[in-house]
């Protein structure tokens, strides 16, 4: 009777299915226990900000040195340094400028982030560089390689001094860019928008 049933085919498939189900259930139900490792990574942030501590020129001093009775009358040009709302940009405007006068803006660079940074580089661009024999930080406190810990700050004097190559009644523009980067990767070039930094080894 049993032999006859097995030989029909359908019961064999049925029995095989039961066997497979049994094996699968065994596998799924096997005893196991989990241990969990929960990882949280709180990243810090790198941030630098600028501020302006003062600005001026030396027209009056030169006038005094030259014996002008009223040096104040020689104060014909002016400089103004203003800070953007995000504290990332200082705009310097010099009006009625002329050669051989030093215009200066005292700029504060501060680490407002949570990790140290180093100044990767400082670049000076624009046609102002062609007519100025000084367009630079003169106190030597802001320089490539400078490192600032969080909350540390330094002040340097950015001086602009025009040569006689400057033409009259012309607007010259210049731009100073300070790039800072995390201290542990200096002097690796900072990352670009197109991919990982070259330091990604």
């Amino acid at each position: 009777m049993l032999k006859g049933k097995i030989s029909t085919g359908i019961p064999v498939v049925f029995l095989a299915l039961i066997a497979v189900l049994g094996i699968t259930a065994g596998a799924l139900a096997l005893w196991w226990e989990s241990l969990t490792i929960d990882v949280t990574v709180n990243t810090g942030y790198l941030e630098a900000q600028l501020s302006v501590h003062g600005f001026g020129d030396n027209e009056t001093e030169i006038a005094e040195e030259m014996g002008e009775p009223d040096p104040s009358v020689k104060n014909v040009s002016s400089i103004n340094c203003t800070l953007s709302d995000d504290n990332k940009t200082v705009t310097i405007v010099i009006n009625n400028a002329y050669p051989s006068i030093s215009y200066w803006c005292e700029i504060d660079l501060k680490n407002t982030g949570t990790i140290p940074f180093k100044v990767y580089n400082i670049t000076f661009e624009g046609n102002l560089t062609e007519v100025a024999d000084k367009f630079e930080f003169t106190d030597g406190t802001i320089y490539a390689g400078l490192q600032l810990e969080p909350d540390d700050e330094v002040i340097d004097k950015l001086v602009i001094h025009l040569t006689n190559n400057a033409e009259e009644n012309v607007t010259y523009t210049g731009k100073v860019t300070i790039i800072v980067e995390q201290w542990n990767e200096y002097p690796t070039p900072p990352p670009t928008e197109t991919g990982l930094p070259t330091s990604f080894r």
Binding site: T24, G26, A27, L28, L30, W31, W32, E33, S34, L35, T36, I37, D38, V39, T40, V41, N42, T43, G44, Y45, L46, G113, T114, I115, P116, Q147, Q182, W183, N184, E185, Y186, P191, L196, P197, S199, F200, R201
Partner: protein, 224 residues
Amino acid sequence: MNKKLGIIISIAVLAALLGGITALWYEELEVEAVVDTAELDWEFTDFFFFDSCYLVPGPDKNLFDFVELNPVTAPEGKDVGCTLVEEIDTDNDGDFDMLNVTLNNTYPYYYTAVNFWVHNNGEVPLKVWRLVIILDNGTQYVYTENEVADNPIITQLDLNNDGKPDVFLWFENAFGDQLEPCQTIDISMHITVLQPAPQNETLHFQLTLDAVTWNEYAEALSSE
């Protein structure tokens, strides 16, 4: 009269026979089965990790060489980030079943390592079966001996879904390691923050380490 006597005698004989049957000697034998199952149980017992937030400040470690897994002391010995690890008993059964690892104020290439001990506090031998990495977006990566053989698990995880890896993970392969009851082994895990990690954010992922009874390890592998 004789007929009545015969009936009475017959009834008496029948009653005697029936009494003999119901009073016959007998005895039952029984087999009682009691199955006292064991418990498969393991727990975290101890751990060691780099750059603790609580201990004496020390220089961070940075990892630039991902091939040799060769961390170096952070340039200039700076102490910026730090690591915290704590054990948690999530189900209040007396076992530490979770390790909370927190890296604070980290930055690209910040490196830390956690060495932890797992202990078979159950009653049957177990084998380390698989590691499941679970990201907050639901993505899961399952690793067993089938995937990595004898090699460590080395992967980079995108934890903020921007398509770029944020964390480098190196996890020691303990797959197939067997722990007898009361036996302990240690496993190490190395984490490095990568350059594309977002600033000033909290990144999170979870790992579960699963063990099975030693005799079903092969079956567990084949059931994947």
